[in-house]
């Protein structure tokens, strides 16, 4: 049976150079408020950092594309608000997601506790194939550390999560964690086959035809 999950396109540019596969994934950010979820995405999408990032209302939407060998991965990112008042929205975003980053603040033990709760919730309610990454943010404040690296690493290993300590301020491991997720995603999908994860969009059939025809230099 054709594995629908891995069906991807190979677009033909007019100059004849073939492009690799392009896939799109929905990724959701979860975590206590003020741990740096928005800062992480802002760093990833725009390469910026704001010392006084405003707190997110509802869920913000961003997209970013990364290239892995011949595959282009487009992240459709939902950056949810950490405030209690918006928690009812979170399930709507993680349910359709293929990946999640659960963020905590390494200088605050409580946020790590909250992160564990999010992971549990994801394991129970989200798609079984969801790739979960744990990000210990604010690594630049390591001298005020309250959560030990080993503690988090052990927890991540037990739960088979990707784990990295990141810093949106210094950009440390920010791109890396997204790339690590991107690398894990297609393989993950392939292994488990097409499943209930996400409500897929119906594919528009082959994009390659119309443009390539009549091209003078194919």
């Amino acid at each position: 049976m054709e594995n629908m999950a891995t069906r991807t396109q190979t677009a033909q540019r007019p100059n004849g150079s073939a492009q690799g596969k392009i896939c799109q994934f929905k990724l959701v950010l979860l975590g206590e408020s003020a741990v740096g979820k928005s800062s992480l995405v802002l760093r990833f999408v725009k390469g910026q950092f704001h010392e006084y990032q405003e707190s997110t209302i509802g869920a913000a939407f961003l997209t970013q594309t990364v290239c892995l060998d011949d595959t282009t991965v487009k992240f459709e990112i939902w950056d949810t608000a950490g405030q209690e008042r918006y928690h009812s929205l979170a399930p709507m975003y993680y349910r359709g997601a293929q990946a999640a980053i659960v963020v905590y603040d390494i200088t605050n033990q409580d946020t790590f506790g909250r992160a564990k709760t999010w992971v549990k919730e994801l394991q129970r309610q989200a798609s079984p194939n969801i790739v979960i990454a744990l990000a210990g943010n604010k690594q630049d404040l390591a001298n005020k550390r309250m959560v030990e690296f080993e503690e988090a690493q052990n927890y991540a290993d037990e739960n088979t999560l990707l784990f990295m300590e990141t810093s949106a301020k210094t950009a440390m491991n920010v791109n890396d964690i997204f790339l690590a997720i991107a690398k894990k995603l297609p393989r993950n999908e392939q292994a488990s086959g097409a499943s209930a994860s996400g409500q897929g969009r119906r594919l528009a059939e082959g994009d390659t035809g119309a443009r390539a025809a009549g091209s003078c230099c194919k």
């Binding site: 999950a5 891995t6 997209t63 709507m92 996400g198």
Partner: protein, 430 residues
């Protein structure tokens, strides 16, 4: 043919027997045959030597002539303009002209190179006594024999003093001196300095005194380099043209995808979105066409007769690109036609698609994020309603920037939020 006599270096066409400079190979041979006829062996070897040198020079000459003829054929129109000659005795002066020109060019090149080598050494030299450094590089002319400035013929006295050119050691008065700043000098030595920081003036503005001739030669070289580095307007336009072509490609991919989706009765994309993307593409096409026309209307390059062909070829190429890629875009159906397509499709598609496809095929784009919605949150408002408003705002922003893949994702989300809201309201009413 240099000979050592009493430790002095002589150069020129020297007689090997009596060391007199005969000035040319012909006179040297004549002199030798006349004065030193007893030395036949030497005469023979001398003749051979001259013959070898001659053949070598002639060979070079042929090559020179070839390139010269090429040059000449390129500049045909200069000759065509001259009045046609009447039949009769004609004589070619090309040989003579070539001779004169080569001598001059060789001389100029070697002189300029000498200056540059000296300048380079001067800049590299370490030490504080600049006068000493300058004198170590070139022997300064003895001032006692010069009573007048060679450039303006004014006599030197206590107020008009003698100055030496730092590059050739010649003498001139102050008003006939040119000054080369160190920055300029560095530019000449390494042309990389042409762009960037070198333009920043140094605080201690030091200069080199040089004569008019040296300044002139350095200037010639610099302007030649500048003209080689200068970007022609056609290059500028062509770069822009290529830039637009590059930018237009993802839009075309996206449009074709949207078109196919719409024509298959799919509701993923909306008709008016596709329409506005098409308008955006048309605008790009107009811009492309404008640049093509601009290039075609560039004035012909006086030195490059084929430039006009190039201009026209670019224009034609652009027109073909527009015709094949942009004008051939499929026509979108009218809303009525679309309705028809949808009905047909729904009849055919009675069986619902049971596949869930987590991966979507998309066009490549770079990172995008809408501006933050700055509506002050009212604590009384339902977060769901709040979020719906945020997403609606995002959709508007994405539409404006032709981010239709994002529009689709956001719409999907909005529909879900609406569904949730209806559920919630229903539950509350029960």
């Amino acid at each position: 043919m240099a000979e050592f006599s009493e430790g002095k270096i002589m150069e020129g066409f020297l007689c090997p027997m009596c060391h007199t400079d005969m000035r040319s190979s012909r006179t040297l041979l004549a002199h030798f045959q006349e004065q030193h006829s007893e030395e036949q062996d030497i005469l023979k070897s001398l003749k051979e030597l001259v013959g070898k040198a001659k053949s070598k020079i002639l060979k070079l000459d042929d090559k020179d002539l070839e390139t010269f003829n090429k040059e000449l054929s390129l500049q045909k129109y200069f000759l065509e303009k001259s009045v046609p000659q009447d039949a009769g005795q004609t004589r070619s002066h090309i040989e003579y002209f070539k001779e004169v020109r080569r001598e001059r060019l060789d001389h100029r090149t070697s002189e300029t190179n000498k200056l540059i080598i000296r300048l380079d050494r001067f800049l590299r030299a370490e030490g504080t006594d600049r006068k000493q450094i300058a004198q170590s590089l070139v022997t300064w002319l003895d001032g006692s024999t010069v009573s007048r400035c060679p450039s303006c013929a004014s006599s030197f006295n206590i107020t008009r003093r003698q100055h030496h050119c730092r590059l050739c050691g010649s003498i001139m008065c102050n008003s006939c001196s040119c000054f080369l700043t160190y920055d300029e000098a560095r530019n000449i030595i390494s042309p990389m300095y042409f762009d960037g920081k070198s333009q920043v003036q140094r605080t201690d503005e030091e200069t080199l005194r040089i004569c008019v001739h040296c300044a002139n030669m350095l200037d010639c070289r610099r302007s030649l380099q500048m003209s080689q580095n200068m970007q022609l307007p056609i290059c500028k336009y062509y770069e822009k043209l290529q830039q637009i072509k590059y930018e237009i490609e993802p839009s075309l991919d996206l449009f074709n995808k949207m078109y196919k989706s719409i024509m298959s009765g799919d509701v993923t994309y909306q008709l008016q979105d596709a329409q506005s993307l098409k308008t955006a593409i048309a605008k790009q096409a107009e811009l492309l066409d404008a640049y093509g026309k601009k290039i075609a209307s560039l004035p012909p390059e006086p030195n490059i007769p084929k430039a006009i062909n190039l201009h026209n070829a670019i224009r034609r190429g652009t027109a073909v690109f527009i015709k094949e890629h942009l004008l051939s875009l499929p026509v979108l159906p009218s809303p009525a036609e679309l309705e028809h397509i949808k009905q047909e499709q729904s009849l055919r598609n009675e069986v619902p698609n049971t596949y869930n496809i987590p991966m979507k095929r998309v066009a490549v784009t770079t990172g995008w994020s809408p501006a933050a919605v700055d509506a002050a949150p009212e604590t009384s408002e339902d977060p769901l309603i709040e979020q719906m408003n945020i997403v609606r705002n995002y959709i508007e922003q994405a539409k404006k920037e032709n981010r239709f893949d994002e529009v689709v994702s956001l719409r999907e989300n909005l529909d879900m939020l609406k569904k949730m809201y209806r559920k919630k309201v229903g539950a509350n009413h029960e």
